[in-house]
Symmetry: C3
């Protein structure tokens, strides 16, 4: 879609220096941009690239004080502004499937909102409810009585089991599984008897879930992913986990059963959490942290077993210094022996 630079600047509440009438036809990264594209530079470190890019206009932060040959749009948050422009100039929706494919299997008593799109060979079981503008790609399975909110986007080969509740504008990437049985057994004389997992999963609005993630249903009640939370690829979320709003769970992290995660928490890549603990609002769990105890709000922990990060760093510095320490102690030993000799001689 073509837009003038003036229209774009108004859309993102930015200030233009240079020709406001030029026409923008595409969006791109600063290195990959061609003529007609608009690009952006958020970090002052990269301001030098403005002179080199082939883009026709650049969005920059207000920290950019220099003047340039090409038109610049200055704004408070260039990254966010650029994300908005992408949806204006190159709407991704254009690429998504439209309509219900004739091969989609739709069960009984299914409720479809306006302009729902369902891909080839998707299977929608009985009593499913899909909100307006929901897109479900080919090969997806939606179990019976599951509800999916408006504008949700479910990529190919996702499996969502029965009775799950998914909010509006949720994005789920390929291969992800929602609502599989929690891992629960009663062990008796060495045999493991399955504990039925009778609960479900409830996912809030504006959640994004990466590829090949697994989110288990609860034993009773529900596993909860709070609104605005973003989950990366290959994450494991066990039964009865409750995650607050606007948290970030990075790739390959794993959260064990019944653990409670607060709001605005960051769980970095490959971190693992035991079950039945509580992570306070705003806490940060470092990459690969092995979290065995509850973590207070606004605290950063790292290492295995995870400890408060600054203290863990001090301990780690001591560890790295150990070979030297062993030398020091050898010397001290020698000195003491010498002292003992001297004293006994006196």
């Amino acid at each position: 879609m073509k837009k003038t630079l003036r229209e774009i600047a108004e859309f993102i509440d930015g200030d233009i220096s240079g020709d406001a009438d030029i026409v923008i036809t595409g969006v791109s990264g600063i290195k990959e941009a061609c003529e007609g594209d608009i690009t952006f530079v958020a970090n002052p470190r990269y301001f030098a690239l403005i002179e080199k890019t082939r883009a026709s206009a650049i969005i920059a932060s207000r920290e950019l004080l220099t003047t340039h040959k090409k038109p610049i749009v200055r704004t408070d948050n260039p990254s966010l502004a650029f994300a908005k422009i992408v949806s204006l100039i190159a709407p991704a929706e254009a690429a998504h499937i439209k309509g219900v494919h004739p091969t989609a299997v739709i069960g009984k008593s299914v409720t479809l909102g306006k302009d729902v799109a369902i891909g080839a060979y998707a299977v929608i079981e009985d009593k499913v409810s899909l909100g307006d503008n929901v897109t479900i790609y080919s090969g997806c399975f939606i179990g019976h009585s599951t509800k999916i909110g408006a504008e949700a986007l479910i990529y190919p080969n996702v499996s969502i089991r029965e009775n799950v509740i998914i909010g509006s504008r949720v994005i789920i990437h390929c291969g992800t599984v929602v609502g599989s049985d929690g891992f629960g057994f009663v062990s008796l004389k060495g045999l493991h008897h399955k504990i039925p997992q009778l609960g479900t999963v409830e996912i809030g609005d504006d959640v994004e879930i990466g590829a090949n993630v697994s989110i288990d249903r609860a034993r009773f009640n529900k596993t909860v992913i709070g609104s605005g939370t973003k989950i990366d690829n290959l994450v494991h979320i066990a039964h009865n986990v409750v995650i607050g709003e606007n948290s970030i769970i990075v790739a390959q992290a794993g959260i064990s059963g019944s653990t409670i995660i607060g709001k605005g928490v960051t769980i970095a890549g490959q971190a693992g959490l035991v079950g039945h603990i509580t992570i306070g609002d705003g806490a940060i769990l470092a990459a690969q942290a092995g979290v065995t105890k509850s973590v207070p709000a606004n605290t950063m922990v790292s290492g295995y077993p995870a400890r408060e990060h600054e203290s863990a760093k001090r301990v780690n510095a001591c560890v790295q210094n150990l070979p030297k320490l062993y030398e020091t102690i050898k010397e001290l030993k020698k000195k003491i022996e010498e002292l003992e000799k001297k004293i006994s001689q006196k």
Copy 2:
């Protein structure tokens, strides 16, 4: 399904105190229960909830000595008893698909047992054999000559490659892959040449496998999962691994090629094992353990590289104490210097 409390008590071999004639219509957790439900409390810590629950009857352990207004069924193992009751009152089978969907692609010389259910768009290749009451959900792929035992339950979008053998009553959750090629290459002058993976996978009876797991086929012969073993989500099992009976492999653990795991072993979440080692019966590998050597039977190991757990805990306590130790050593150094000064002055 409705049952009287008397019928339930008989079914689980429990003793009723209170009205045995009340009718139970549902099962639920103690906090979520409604009128008509039966619930349970296994841990004495939660006995106080008995007075608060809306459930009509409660299963409890024989440790519960107090009397209550509501009927109580006392039994040896309330968790296990409750799991049994779930299958009596709210049989999950009711929800599963029935019959062979007309869109299922069934190859030549396929053997179907009695009452097999196959979902829409499932693909069953030639010479596959499915036992009685097998359920295969939509989107699954079953490669040629694979055999699946009676009452197995395969959830949507599972891929099982050719020549695999799967036992009876096995449950496989969505997105899991069984029989992919082992990761084997001959490296020559920096190039990696694929080693054909000619073996297969054999899974015993009563195994449960979580979502998005990968189990590779053997180079020759077979990768083996012993009967009764339970595997959680996102676990990786490499070629030629052999796992004994009734072991537990928690989420995101990874087992490298040709490693042998005994019976009744517990591998906790995110633990990793190198190839070609042996884990003895009843061993416990702690979460995130990096296991680089064989582990004797009935031994617990933790940490990286993994060591006997009690010793690892002692070492870790020493590590946490290092900043203090550095202070101590500083002081000792000072004292020695003072001693040296004093001695030289005498």
Copy 3:
């Protein structure tokens, strides 16, 4: 396929001792082999098995100096030779699907090479291009404008998003996802706004990718997997990662955004790399390593945070010795106290 031992020896450039005219009808491991099979033994440790195997002929390294009753083919690299013979005697291709299944959904302007095979219920979107002899199994999704090179083999239930480029002879195992959105957000007042991921993924020739892997598309430009690189199961590759040629990424490893991996690098199982670092050619990252900084070429690192491996081993030896060290320091303390007493008494 039947071959004489003479034909086989010529094919792998090996020297026969024994009857060159025997007919070989199968290939197998040395323990599993039956009459008619050829097998191999690469490691001198296993030379003793030559007398026990039921195989009709054995490929061995030139280090095998003894004479045997059964025919032996001596060659430089028995493993590689055997891999070649497998493709001669038991061509795996025979088992793969042939032709385009009538249920495959093929979009507009799709280019199909010669002898392309597409399985049941696969979905090929508009403008996709598939090279000669490409095999795409059932349940796969290939997004619009994606290009796949000749002889690529895509196993069931793989999802490849739009605009991806995949080289020739690439193998992708079941459940893998290529081209999912990178995990990128702008966080503003606690809310995370999606950054559109406008780039793509480019995979070179002869790459093999395991089961349930996730490879994200770039924000701009492309995520790159170099030719000849082999990736194991459940690996996570984030947006804008660039991996050089002939590297090895073992199961459950994770590489964060924009990190650059050189040629011939080995990343062992469950290793994790932060974003925006560079790993030099030939570097080795040990299993479970937590790599927080760039690694020079031909360097091995291990541990968390990862350090040069020899030094990490020394440090780790010191750590394991800590309980003893604490004892030593206690003794030193005592000796110093005694010395202090003695001196004050003199």
